[in-house]
Structures are given as C-alpha cells and as structure tokens.
Symmetry: C2
Subunit: 408 residues, 2 copies
C-alpha cells in the first residue's frame, strides 16, 4: 500500500556505460524472489559511501568501510537481502570477507576491491554457502540494462522497487545518473541511509565525489523517517565510471553545482520513494520547519514531530487532532522557545497562530486537508532563518502487523 509510488519502467532508466548489474535467486528470502545482486564497475571508477552510525553496525558495513578506505579502486559490489549479517560478531566479519573473496576470485580482482552489503533479519548467521553457490549465475547475468531487476533484488519488506534516472549536460557531455534504493521499515537514517546505490559517468575526482555524497545525503536520505529506528545496515554508495569526456570536476565550481543539483534530485526521489513505501504507510507527509534559530534546531523539531506516534496515528485516522503537533513541538527541547511566535499551517490552512488555535480555524476545512494522501505541515518559529524539509509517513495498523509478523 505505497503512497503514490509507481513501479519504475526499465526503459526510463538510463544505462551507465561500464556499469553492469546481475541478479540471482539464492533462496535466502522465501518465495523464489531475487535476493542477490552484483554490480561491476569499469577500471578507473571512483566510489564514495556513507554508512549507518548505529554502533551495532553490521559486519558488511564494517568490511565495506575497510575496503573503501584501503583502495580507491572498487570494482564490484555484492548485495544480499533476507539476512542482515548484523549482531553476528567475528564470524559475521569473516563471512562478509569470504563473500568478497569468492566474488573477487571469479572476477579476477582483489578481495578489497569488492564492497559487501546485506539487509534482512538481524542476529542470524549469513547463509554464506547459499550466496557462494549463486555468484556465478549472477555474474553470467551481468548487463548494463539490469537496473530495474537490481532494484527488485534488494527489496525486503518493500512493496515496490525503487529506481530513478536523470540526465544532465556538463561541458557539452551528457551525464547519465541512475540510482536504486530499498527500505520500508527501520527507517531513520543517521548520516547515511538504507541501501541506495547511484551510478553515473561524470568525470569527478574521488575527493569531490566524497564531498558530493556528504552534501547530498544531508538533504535527502538524512531527511526521512518512517519509524524512528536507525538500521544497523544503512549504506549509500555513489559510483562514477569517470568515462564522460569533460575536464575533471575537482573543485566546487559551476559544474559541481550543476551535477549536485541533479544528483540531489535523484537522491531525494529515492529517499521519498522509501517513505512512500514505508511499512503500512497511507499518507506521505512533508514537514517544513522555517524561521528556526538554525538548521540543527529545525531538524530536531522536524524529527520530533515525525517520530511522534500520536501525530502519526492522527494522520492515519485523518483526524485533525492538531494539538498533538503542538505537543510534539513542545517536546523538542528547544531552548528559549517563545510559543507565542509559533504559527503552523496544514497545507495552506493556518491552524495554529501565536501558539494557540488560529482565530480563522475551521474544523471542517482541517478535516478535508487531513484526508489528503499528500500533506504538508509548515511550522513557522519566528526566531531565525534556520529551515529544513523532511519527509515521513503515518502509523497504521499495518505497520504493527508487518513488524509483528516480519519473521513468520
């Protein structure tokens, strides 16, 4: 029951010359679904990643970070769903390394040129043999046109695969950008995100790619929450083949900003797709905080509202019980907040004025706005120029059902 989210068409996804994707069914997840993905990159590619800040971060997150640090020459990614390889101790680390070795051997590259990723149930051993058995099949499937199948192969409780593609021209050269993501629950990225992989052919230095991923993450994947729980496995990888024939982007100049603007569009679309497909979601809610003291304050308040179960259940019920939004703001621990300066809009309807019910408030109009599947909540703080926009979903019976029955 995703909110206004359509399955991407493969013909809408630009291929990136040199980036090949192959999938297989390793039977880690049930029901004969694709659950193994390999992405191979041409020599000369640059890769940057951001990862979960959860201290029980998964073994593949540790190994991917080690490998990416050790070399700028990442040549392949391997992703499995169904098993997260988190909370698995030293054995988990060894398992992740073994998977890298097996793939490296078959691709005739070095083990640390492979980045491993896992997602699924936590605290269960990684089914290494099942994965190893299917590596050859996924390698045989490697193809530049497999972006949509790749998006399918990384799904867990997702109901719809998530992929988006854009083109931009830099110095007369067409740059293709195509990305996929997955995630539906345990979504509250902290400096990283669920699994997301974006490829492109821009000629960009490793340093600038790292800057790009940090800046883009802050305004996309770090601005969503479904249920307030940061995953152990969040990883977001940006890859470029460097094959476009323009001079290298190695300063944050005009070309960098052209690229960033399109990259941000791709990342925001992938991040929003995760929220639209949030577990049990029936509403897509945009929360804008304006006139806060600074960005940090704005973000904190936005996330406090987004994570309030009472706000989320009111949205689910289309109940204009808007006092819950006031209460959530009051819990945001903003120092020196003058509630008499706070105005709040539900779409274009002013419902709270000077910290209390607006004089113009009309319950029927509010009810109409609450019934919409896309809702924007705008909070004006009247104390500075800090602002943020984040995206979240409501909390429905189905969220509880999905998470109560996840392993059955």
């Amino acid at each position: 029951m995703a909110v206004n989210l359509k399955k991407p068409k493969n013909e809408d996804l630009h291929t990136i010359s040199g980036i090949h994707l192959g999938t297989a069914i390793a039977e880690i997840k049930n029901k004969g679904q694709r659950d193994l993905l390999i992405i191979s990159l041409p020599e000369g590619s640059v890769v940057a990643g951001v990862f979960t800040k959860n201290q029980f971060c998964a073994a593949p997150v540790i190994v991917a970070q080690e490998n990416i640090k050790q070399t700028n020459k990442t040549r392949a990614l391997i992703v499995n769903t169904g098993s997260a390889n988190a909370g698995t101790g030293e054995i988990g680390i060894k398992d992740a390394r073994d998977i890298c070795k097996s793939l490296a051997f078959k691709l005739k590259i070095k083990p640390h040129e492979v980045l491993p990723f896992s997602t699924g149930v936590i605290m269960e051993p990684l089914p290494v043999k099942k994965i190893q058995k299917k590596i050859s099949e996924a390698i045989e499937d490697l193809n530049e046109s497999n972006w949509q199948l790749a998006a399918e192969a990384i799904m867990t409780t997702d109901t719809i695969p998530k992929a988006i593609s854009r083109q931009v021209t830099i110095q007369g050269q067409i740059i293709n950008i195509t990305g996929i993501s997955k995630g539906s629950g345990m979504i509250h990225p902290n400096m990283a995100t669920m699994l997301a992989f974006i490829g492109m052919n821009a000629n960009i230095s490793s340093k600038m790619l790292n800057q790009l991923i940090q800046e883009v993450t802050k305004e996309s994947f770090n601005c969503i929450s479904v249920d307030g729980d940061t995953s152990t496995n969040d990883s977001f990888i940006m890859m470029s083949t460097n094959q476009a024939d323009h001079s290298q982007i190695n300063l944050d100049n005009k070309d960098y900003y052209i690229l960033k603007s399109v990259m941000l569009d791709v990342a925001i679309n992938l991040a929003q797709a995760i929220v639209r497909d949030g577990e049990g979601a029936t509403k897509f809610i945009t929360i804008k905080i304006c006139e806060a003291l600074n960005y940090t304050e704005a973000k904190k308040i936005a996330m406090t509202i987004a994570c309030s179960l009472l706000v989320k259940t009111a949205f689910f019920a289309s109940d204009a019980n808007l006092g819950r939004i006031l209460s959530a703001i009051g819990n945001g621990e903003v120092e020196g907040l003058d509630i008499k300066k706070v105005d709040i809009y539900l779409n274009d309807l002013l419902f709270a004025e000077a910290g209390a019910l607006a004089a113009s408030y009309n319950a029927d109009s509010a009810q109409l706005e609450m019934k919409k599947s896309e809702i924007e909540l705008r909070v004006m703080f009247g104390r500075g120029d800090g602002s943020v926009t984040i995206w979240t979903s409501d909390l429905s019976y189905d969220y509880v059902k999905i998470n109560a029955e996840y392993r059955t």
Copy 2:
C-alpha cells in the same frame, strides 16, 4: 486490556484525616462518566509538585505552578478530564484562573490556594461553564473515603482506576500514604508525570517535601514510557496534612529515608499501573541497564530500547527477533561503546554475549520467554557502575486503533 492490573478496592485505601475528595459528572467526557474531582486539604498542609517540561505546557500547569510558588498554603485541587486546556493561549490561562476563583469562592479560600489540573483533548477550549455548574455538587460530595471514586474521575483512555495505599510508622506514629494516578497514552514523563496525587499525614517541612518529590519522581514516574510522547499536562502532586504527632522531618535523616522508601513504593506502583494500563498494552516490560558508565548513559539506552517501535512490536508478537534490541542499543549514541562487552538477558536467558548471539542461545527457549506477559530485559554494559530500571509496554494494533479513534 491492562496487563496484570486489578481495580483497587476502596477498603484497601487508607483515608488521610483532613483530606476530603468529591467527584461529579460535568459531561465533558461522554457516556455519563465522572470527570470532575475536587480535593480539599486542611489548614497547615504542605504541598509539592513537579510538572511537565513540554514547552507547550497546558494553561492549568502554568497556573498551578504560579499558585504553588505564591503560597505554601494550598487548600484545594480541582481536576477535570475530557479537555486538556493546552494550546489554548491566553484564554486558556484565564479559564484556568476562573475555575480556581469559582472553587475558592465556594470554599471561602483564596484563588491562589487552589491548584487546577486538566487532561484530555489538546487545543480545544476548556468548557468552563460545564465545570462551574458542577462545582457545588462535587463540594457536597467531599468525603475522606472517596479515594477510589477520585481515581475513577481522573481517567481518560485508562481502562482501570489506579490507586495504592501504604502505612509506615515514624517515631511510633502511623503515617498513612494514599495515592492515585491516571495515564495510558502520551506517556513519557520528563521530570514529571501524568496526573498523580499522593496524600499523607506525615509531619514534614515544605523543603523536605520538595526534596522527597524530586527524588521519588526520578525513580518512579520518570522511569516509564508507553509511547515516547511527553504530555503537555503531566503533573505529580504530593500533599501532607502534617497532622501526625511526630517531630517534623526537616533533614534527610533516618525518618526521611523510612518515609522515602514507602513513598517510593507507592509512586512506583502508581507509575507501573500507568504502564500496565498503557494504551493497547499486552505485555509489561522491565528494562534494566547495568554496568553503564553512569546513570545518564543507562537511562538514555533504556529509553532508546523502550521507545523503539521495532522492539515494541516484536514483544507484541512474542517474536524473539532479538536483533532489534541490539539495533536499538546501537542507536543510543553511547560514546566509545565496546559492543564486545555487551551481554543481554531475556528474563534469565542469556541471548547476546559479547555483542553477538550467545553460544548457548536456543530459539525455542527464547520463544517461551517472549510469550510471558511480564518480561525483564537485562543489559550488561561492562564499562562502569551506572544502572537504571525502567518500565514500558509493547505496541499492538490496539494502540493504533485507540489513538486513531481517540476523538471519535
């Protein structure tokens, strides 16, 4: 569907000589339920209170704090349910003061000798006239034996009234302590709690009563969470008639600790009753954090686990998806945490050892423990002597249902 919580019997509740309670049906809540409570105190009583830290705190919270500050001579409390008088601006403040005035006039005391309390829907005007019309009826009902009816009159989504009583002997004098509380949702007290009122006859100075309420709150009402949302109206009031014939407690000496121990027992029972009657609760969960660096760290981790929707839904489903507990701990932002020192017990079953699945772990045994209605989770951090015990509930379909349908 409260978890192992019985309706208190009035005959088990000790009266406190001089403390009279009267209730009425003011038709603020529907269905002809009691929704108005007046408590009157004899001259010479001392009163202490702690209140919500929510910045959108309700008008009655503001007025009660003002009045308690202005005088040590509180003589009456007035409580309504059905309407929280929060997010109501200046009019709300005036309304709360008007209620105090009306009651003061009839009791022939001063308006600031009255403390007002409200609970219910936020951002709706207080039905002042409905309350004023029933004040006389509640006054006529004033009686020392009305503790159980008083507990009923302050219920909102509560399914069971909450009251507890204890006796303790100080210097040969019997001290009676009787308390009531209410709360079921929007429960995540911050330096205060839902509504709770505890009366006694101990002879205690105002200064020591204030120390007592602070210390007791920290280990009782501030150690519970149902849904992570701190209410706008949390208030906890401790009252003593000072009529017991022992020398005044004005130092934290032996007598103070005797009294504190019993008072803490009463407060913990009232706090736990709120969790047991948590909205939609099917499990009562005790979370103990041991060997943390300090109390602050222990509390932070305990609350991170208690507020994780994924942990709460796993408990609801009796699903031993214990990796979610690891993940929640990893989100607690503990600086320098060495996950290899973390052991976790589910009741007496060791399931995580050195940060990974315990060698002795058995899924069937874990399943059996998860099916119990009373579960203790014990996390050993291995890095200090900070510890805390907190109480929480699970997250069920019914939580969503109750909160989606609250106003209908």
